[in-house]
Amino acid sequence: LIEPGADVEEPDVAKRILVIEDHEENRRIMRDLLTHAGYEMLEAVTGEDGIVAAGLERPDLILMDIQLPGLDGYDTTRRIKADPALRPIPIIAVTSYALSGDDQKALAAGCDAYVTKPFSPRALLGKIREFLG
């Protein structure tokens, strides 16, 4: 018997993805994409809110926009990765233009992978599946 609220993976429950992104349109694209692919999407608009949401919700994966107002994606990633309880959650960075060097900085900050903006929803989904199967 499984106790309610016990920390056990249930195969039938949708994997939960936290999207930290300040642009409304981008969040909506991700929502349409992820929901259609059978994931549950959680949202945060700022890095600060994202850290709180990550701690409360313990998502299976985080999509991190790099250019956020206030705390940027690098610092948000560093803070999440500094928490031992949250460290195993894979973080995929959504960086601006590929040649900007943001991708290297994202990896250095602790991100597990990156996609570059403008991202192809198809490619993003492929990247997510590498982590969530």
């Binding site: 349109e25 981008n26 694209i29 349409d32 601006s96 233009y97 903006k117 403008p118 929803p121 198809r122």
Partner: protein
């Protein structure tokens, strides 16, 4: 008696001629200094030295006039005691003051035959005391005039009293003219320098603006391309065939626009000096093959043959692998774009301490005139082809800057009508990014 007179006349003429030769020599020396030396101080020092020597006066100074303060500032002196120089430096001569100030005000040479008698001669008590102590008795001030504008003054001092002979006044006026030119040149030079600095700042602002703008432009484009793909993938339901075709067109145009924006961003970043190379070890062979994979489909679509010739056992290079791949991709992409029949050949080899990569096509070739400007921004060989072939005309200038940041160079060889070869050369090991080209 007649012979004696002739002999004396001859002697006098000889002296005059010798003097003229001396004057000409001095003037030509001054002329050379004016045209070859940018440093105003040096030029004025040469002028005042020759002026004093040729006029046989005791000493002299050159002032530059400051229109804003209406003062003459000491710029150079010759055979003038340090004491007097210091007095003149500490308190610039005002317009209308002394021989110098009066010469400026009246715009004609002004002489003071006896500093102790002349009532018009108004100078500071300290200057008067110093002149008296040093024994100067007569002064001649020549204004430096450009049209009717005061540029400064050339002033000479003598220890004896009396008027200055007209030859000396005339001679000094020639030197004054030279000084005027020197001051005028120096001012123009300073102005150009300042303008150059202003331009540099303006150009940096422009680049920053472009960088910001292209970033802003990409955000909505992200949404357009994203929704297009979602629609195409049917996540909002199946699209009718016709709508699907249109979505594909929207996608293609959107990606084209994205390419243009990325090029502008790239170039503006380079222009703003914000592009930093990521230096790491790379394999030239792998770069060539990565580029090949990206263009193979394009070449076969046009029925072009791709030949690749990478020299065996190349040493590992050091540089920005992705940027170098971007350069090669641009060259090969252009070659395929502009060639309708034949082949594109990529060769990579080592030449001493450098790698050389070249891309040869059997395309239309480039005229001599176009070869000159093809690496400049927004230029394509034939501007009418811009519409036909697409592209921003920024690719080659971006490629050029990337190669230059590696301390290398890029060039083109072509015979019009018989194809082109674009080549670039970079040091095998780039340990440090080169300064902006």
């Amino acid at each position: 008696v007649e012979n004696v007179r002739l002999f004396q006349e001859l002697e006098a003429r000889t002296r005059e001629l010798a003097h003229s030769v001396e004057e000409l020599q001095a003037l030509s020396e001054v002329g050379r200094a004016v045209s070859s030396t940018v440093d105003l101080q040096t030029v004025l020092a040469t002028i005042v030295a020759r002026a004093v020597q040729l006029s046989g006066t005791s000493g002299g100074v050159v002032y530059e006039y400051d229109e804003a303060t209406q003062e003459f500032q000491l710029r150079a002196s010759h055979r003038i005691e340090q004491e007097l120089v210091e007095v003149l430096q500490a308190r610039p001569v005002r317009l209308g003051e002394g021989a110098t100030g009066l010469a400026g005000l009246r715009r004609v040479p002004v002489e003071v035959p006896d500093t102790r008698e002349d009532r018009e001669f108004q100078i500071t008590q300290l200057a008067r005391t110093t002149l008296n102590q040093l024994g100067y008795r007569s002064i001649l001030g020549i204004p430096l005039l450009l049209e009717q504008r005061i540029m400064g003054a050339l002033t000479v001092f003598r220890r004896e009293t009396g008027s200055f002979p007209s030859e000396i006044v005339n001679l000094l006026q020639t030197f004054a003219t030279q000084s005027t030119i020197a001051i005028h040149n120096a001012r123009l030079f300073r102005e150009i320098e300042a303008k150059g600095r202003e331009l540099e700042v303006a150009s940096r602002h422009k680049s920053q603006f472009l960088a910001n703008m292209s970033h802003e432009l990409r955000t909505p484009l992200n949404a357009i391309l994203g929704y297009t793909e979602l629609l195409n993938d049917g996540i909002y339901g199946d699209l009718p065939q016709k709508a699907g075709d249109v979505m594909t067109r929207i996608d293609r145009s959107g990606k084209h626009l994205l390419g243009l924006i990325n090029d502008v961003l790239d170039l503006s970043k380079i222009e703003a000096g914000q592009l930093e190379l990521t230096l790491a070890d790379y394999s030239l062979q792998e770069i060539v093959h990565a580029v090949l994979t990206q263009v193979e489909a394009l070449a076969s679509e046009k029925g072009l043959t791709l030949h690749v010739n990478v020299a065996p056992s190349l040493p590992p290079g050091r540089g920005d692998e992705r940027r170098l791949a971007q350069v090669l991709l641009n060259l090969v992409g252009n070659a395929i774009k502009f060639t309708d029949v034949g082949s594109v050949r990529i060769a990579a080899y080592r030449d001493g301490d450098a790698f050389v990569v070249s891309v040869t096509d059997t395309g239309p070739g480039i005229t001599e005139a176009d070869r000159q400007r093809i690496f400049e921004e927004f230029q394509q060989a034939d501007s009418s082809s811009t519409r036909k072939k697409g592209g921003t005309g920024l690719g080659l200038s971006i490629a050029k800057r990337i190669v230059e940041l590696h301390g290398g160079r890029i060039w083109v060889e072509s015979t019009f009508g018989r194809g082109s070869t674009f080549s670039f050369q970079v040091p095998v090991r780039v340990e440090r990014q080169a300064a902006r080209g």
